[in-house]
Structures are given as C-alpha cells and as structure tokens.
C-alpha cells in the first residue's frame, strides 16, 4: 500500500516538474527568438534604412520595401474590412443557425488556417495572369495583386471577430430597436455595428498584424521591385519579401539588412497585437 502511494506521488511530482519544464522550454524559445531579432536588428539599425532604396544593394536601405509594405497592407485591409464586416454581420444577424450560415462559418474557420502560399497562387491565377494577357505584358505582377492576396488572408480573421462580437451584443438591444419600428438594416448598421465597434476594430488590427508578416503570398503577386514606386499597378517590394531575398543572399551585409527589416516587422506586429489587446481589454472593463 505504501509502495503504491509512493509511486502515485512520484508520478505526480514527475508530471508537474515536466509540465513546468515544458513551459520553461516554450518561454526560452520565445526569449531566444526575440533576443536574436532585437540584438541583430538593433546592430543593423541605421538611418539609411529609411532613406535609401534596395537598388543600392548592401549600400542601400529598405525605404521602397517599407513604402511597398504600407501600400500592399493598406490595399489588403481596405478590401478585406468592408467585405469581412458585412459577411460577419450576415453570419451573426441573418444566418445564425441556418444551414448555409453554419456552413460558411465553418468554412471561414478553415480559410483562417489555409496555406497562404496557395492563396498566393490563387491570386496569381485570377489577377496576375489575366492582367498580363489583357495589357499585353505591360502589367504583370502588381502591388494590387499582392493586396488582394493579403485581403484573402485578412478576410477570415475579420469575419470571425465581427461575427463573435455581434453575437455578444445583448438581444434586448435588438428587441428595443425593433419594437420602436426601426427597420432591420438600420438596426444592424446604426445600432449593432456601433455597439460592437471596438471589438470589430480589434479584429481589423489583428488581421493587419497577421498580414504584415506574410511573405509567401506576395512572392508571386507583388513580386518585388528594387525601385521606389507608389503605383499599385506596378511590381512592388515589401519588407517580408526583401527579408526573404536578403537572408538567402550569401553576403554578410545583406544579412544585417535582413535582420534590420526583421526587427522592424516584428516590432510593428507586436505593437499591433498589443494595441488590439489593450483595446479589447478596455471594452471588456467598460461592459
């Protein structure tokens, strides 16, 4: 009996130690990755990153890639936000518990983790190839195509948060408005969406954080461009794509530039997720 008791206690102690160890391992890798990005990124941080373009190679900076990233992300969010918010509203307000609604909600969750490189190839097929054919090769890869690819990745995030946030709005609000004779479109657009606003903004910020680091879908859509361009119909470089290109370069100076880019992207993404967390925390504390 004593032996059994001892064995059970030993198993328990071992399991608890191992679980603590697992957590420490997870935290250690987080610290290791962030530390290397910080150390190597700060070492390579330089004013010319923001003033010079990638055409100068190891003498240059990342200015055109940063501008490109901003434009492509903006296009992505500008496309995904209205579609995502409206689709999420439909799921929560019009199709909750209908068969089509459940199916789309389910497929949206799958789209959420679908391989991003396949989304890149999809946009390559529906935008890059037709635009090449229509303009006789004048417009091939473009920042716009990159933005569409990112929109497809941001869309499910926005749909899901909008859907969830609207379902948190108390039903009494709907009943009160309907009893006053407010038509449903007015109720949805002016009362419910307003009530869920901060949650939806959180979703958009999360989606922006998600697409800011995406590389794979941009390789065959925005392609890359060593020169500064503001035209979304032009080939356009982006920070992740330049990081990918420079990290694969044999030159040490290029690696330093890649680390600097990695530092900027990581900082941006982490600040965004922090902001969305703060925003959401504020909403919860108010309710």
């Amino acid at each position: 009996m004593d032996l059994l008791y001892f064995r059970r206690r030993l198993t328990n102690a071992l399991a608890l130690v191992l679980s603590t160890l697992a957590t420490l391992v997870g935290l250690a890798f987080l610290a290791w990755i962030l530390w290397e990005t910080l150390r190597q990124g700060l070492a390579a941080l330089d004013l010319k990153l923001f003033t010079k373009i990638t055409a100068y190679g190891d003498q240059g900076g990342l200015a055109n890639a940063m501008v490109g990233s901003l434009i492509i992300n903006f296009v992505g969010i500008a496309i995904a936000t209205p579609i995502g918010v409206l689709a999420g509203t439909w799921l929560a307000e019009y199709a909750n518990r209908t068969r089509l609604g459940e199916t789309i909600r389910f497929l949206n969750d799958i789209l959420l983790s679908a391989p991003s490189i396949v989304m890149g190839l999809f946009v390559y097929t529906i935008i890059v190839l037709p635009s090449t054919a229509l303009t006789h090769g004048n417009t091939t890869f473009s920042g716009f195509a990159g933005g569409v690819a990112l929109a497809l990745i941001a869309l499910p995030v926005i749909v899901r948060t909008t859907d969830e946030m609207l379902r948190l709005v108390p039903p009494t609000l709907r009943e009160a408005a309907l009893s006053l004779g407010v038509p449903q479109w007015k109720l949805t657009s002016q009362i419910l969406l307003r009530a869920a606003r901060s949650g939806i903004v959180t979703g958009v910020l999360l989606a922006l954080a998600r697409i800011s680091g995406e590389t794979a879908p941009l390789l065959f859509t925005a392609f890359g461009n060593n020169f500064m361009t503001f035209n979304p119909l032009d080939k356009m470089s982006s920070l992740p794509q330049v990081i990918y290109q420079y990290a694969n370069d044999p030159g040490e100076t290029m690696h330093a530039l890649a680390w600097a880019g990695a530092f900027v992207v990581t900082l941006f993404v982490l600040l965004l997720s922090l902001a969305s967390r703060l925003l959401f925390a504020r909403k919860v504390s108010h309710d």
């Binding site: 328990n12 697992a22 389910f106 679908a114 391989p115 954080a209 680091g213 392609f223 993404v269």
Partner: protein, 335 residues
C-alpha cells in the same frame, strides 16, 4: 393640409424599408459568399493550373520521386514526403510540450502567474513566420549543426568521420538509417521539424488550455475529494472529458505545419532527392513552390500548381477534421 392622404405615408415607408431590408440582406449575403468563393476558387485555380501535370503523369505523379527540369520529369513524392515528415516530427515534439504547458497553466502555476505566462506563449503565435525562418537559418541551424547533430549521428547513426555504425545503428533496425548523415550543415528535415514545432506549440497549447478550462469544476473536485493527485485528475478526468477538442487542437496545429512556407524553406536545405535520413536536407511542397515558381515555365509550373492543389486538399481535410472535433465538445456544452 398635405395632398397625400395621411394613411399612405406609413405604408410607403414600410414599402421603402422592406426594399432596403432586402437590398441590405442581399449585399451581406453576397459578401459572405465571397468566403465560399475564395475556398472553391483556390481549389479550382490550382487544379486548373496543374491540369497539364496531372494529364501528363496521371497517378504516377503521386509516387514518382523524379524532379528534373532538364528531362521534364516531375513527381510529387519528395516534396510530399518532406511535408509529411517535417509535420510529423513537429507534432511529435509539439503535442507533449503543449500538453505540459496547458497542464502547467491550468493546474500547476500559481494563479497570478497564469495570465502573463499564457500571454507570453501566445506572443510566440504572433511572431511572423519569416522571423522563425531567419532565426532558424542564422541561429538555430548552425547551433544544431555544431551541438546536436554530431551527437545524434555519433550515438544513433554513423560516425561522420570514418562511417562506422554506432551501437544503436547495429542493434536497432531503421534508427541507424534515420540518423546517418555525412552532410555537415544544419539544414535538414529534423531541423525544419523542430522549428515547425516551436511555431505550432502556441496554437495547440492555447486550444488545450481553453478546453481544459471548460471541464466542470465539480468533476475535478469530486476526483480530488476521492484522493486523486493533480496528475491523475488531469490524465483521467480532464483529458478524457476534452478528448475530441484536444485532438481537434492537434489537427489544427498539423494544418498549420503542413502549409507553412517561410519557416520551413529556410531550414530544409531544398534538396530534391529522397533520403532516408532525417539529418539530410529535403524539401516540402510549400518550399518547392516558393523556390521554383517564379522561374518555372510550362510543365514545371503546372507541376508546382499540381503540388499546391495536393497541399490544399490535404490541409483542407486535416482542418475539416480539426473543426469537427472541436465542435463536438462545444455542442456537448450546448453552445
């Protein structure tokens, strides 16, 4: 006095409102259908792009290990094997570690520590995959080549210098082959598997932690009252109760691992040869596409599209299983 009879105004308004309601609902529904269109479109676009490769090689495409642009011979076996092997290694590492983290955060850690540690682990999920890739390429792969790989080849495979097999390699079947390598660099299937594991740990552990919290307190407390230890409660009460959702979380991680591009491309070595050793370089579907698509023409481009179609179908099935499993627990709770 207005010329319009007073009774018409509300009627007219009701008609307007009804029309606007229909238009609004239609607009919303059209937007929701875009989600459906994106998934179907991605499947059809890659299938259409890969039709030439599927037509040329037929079923042989799936089992051929050839990948030779000069003789226009393409097969999916090497990248498919690389994708499955790296994802399997990632799961092998990530599942026990994630379970440990979820157990620690839901049962072991002092209450004040839970939220900060959980947010820190979730921070790992927010780091862009290209950062994992760079860290893997410049930091982890050299570390692996210098400290871990020599040990593995020495004790489990062949001696890297004179090729004499280790004790394990002569006494245990298969293991020797898995860890034999005379290639000195860090990029390998095992390295990619480890980097993937670090990437998917936050996904799996946060699902596990969430579902562990749904276990009714009275179940756990009854077990504690009968004298169970923390481990026994977790293993015999919490885990069976949440089994389907835990499996769902694991499949969700698997779906991520299968489709991951950047973290893998940097540390896989991108060799289109089939090797039994986990310490040799390989390639995955996503890394092959990322490396070759922009320079590919004709049949090669079509073969890459066909690979993308395979990847899409496999991840779709894995994610479908994941979501169904996750829903099972939710529906039991009446949500």
């Amino acid at each position: 006095m207005s010329t319009i009879p007073a009774t018409d105004i509300p009627e007219q308004r009701a008609r307007h409102d009804a029309r606007h309601d229909r238009l609004f609902a239609g607009l919303l529904k059209a937007c929701a259908l875009i989600v459906l269109a994106a998934l179907l479109g991605a499947a059809f676009a890659t299938l259409w792009g890969g039709r030439e490769a599927f037509g040329t090689f037929g079923w042989h495409f799936l089992v051929s290990s050839a990948w030779d642009p000069s003789s226009q011979e393409y097969g999916a076996l090497v990248p498919v094997y690389g994708t499955l092997a790296t994802s399997f290694i990632a799961l092998l590492i990530a599942v026990p570690v994630s379970f440990g983290i979820a157990l620690y955060l839901s049962e072991v850690a002092p209450r004040w520590l839970r939220t900060p540690v959980a947010s820190a682990i979730e921070l790992l999920a927010g780091i862009p995959s290209i950062i994992y890739g760079m860290w893997g390429l410049f930091v982890f792969a050299p570390f692996f080549a210098e400290h871990i790989k020599p040990w593995l080849t020495n004790y489990l495979g062949n001696n890297p210098d004179d090729g004499t097999p280790s004790w394990v390699a002569t006494h245990v079947p298969f293991v020797g082959k898995l860890f034999a390598s005379d290639y000195p660099f860090g990029a390998s299937i095992l390295t990619a598997g480890i980097v993937l594991a670090i990437m998917i740990i936050p996904f799996i552990s946060s699902v596990m932690r969430e579902v562990f919290q749904t276990v009714p307190t009275r179940l756990k407390e009854s077990a504690y009252a009968l004298g169970s230890s923390t481990w026994e409660v977790s293993w015999d009460i919490v885990l069976p109760y949440t089994r389907s959702a835990v499996i769902g979380g694991i499949f969700l991680g698997l779906g991520r691992a299968l489709g991951e591009t950047m973290a893998v491309t940097f540390v896989l070595g991108n060799a289109m040869d089939l090797s039994a050793s986990l310490l040799d370089p390989g390639s995955s579907i996503a890394s092959t596409i990322a490396n070759q698509f922009s320079e590919a023409v004709g049949l090669q481009k079509s073969a890459l599209m066909a690979l993308a179609f395979l990847l899409f179908v496999v991840t779709f099935i894995v994610l479908l299983i994941a979501r169904l499993m996750l829903r099972r627990l939710a529906s039991r709770e009446g949500r």
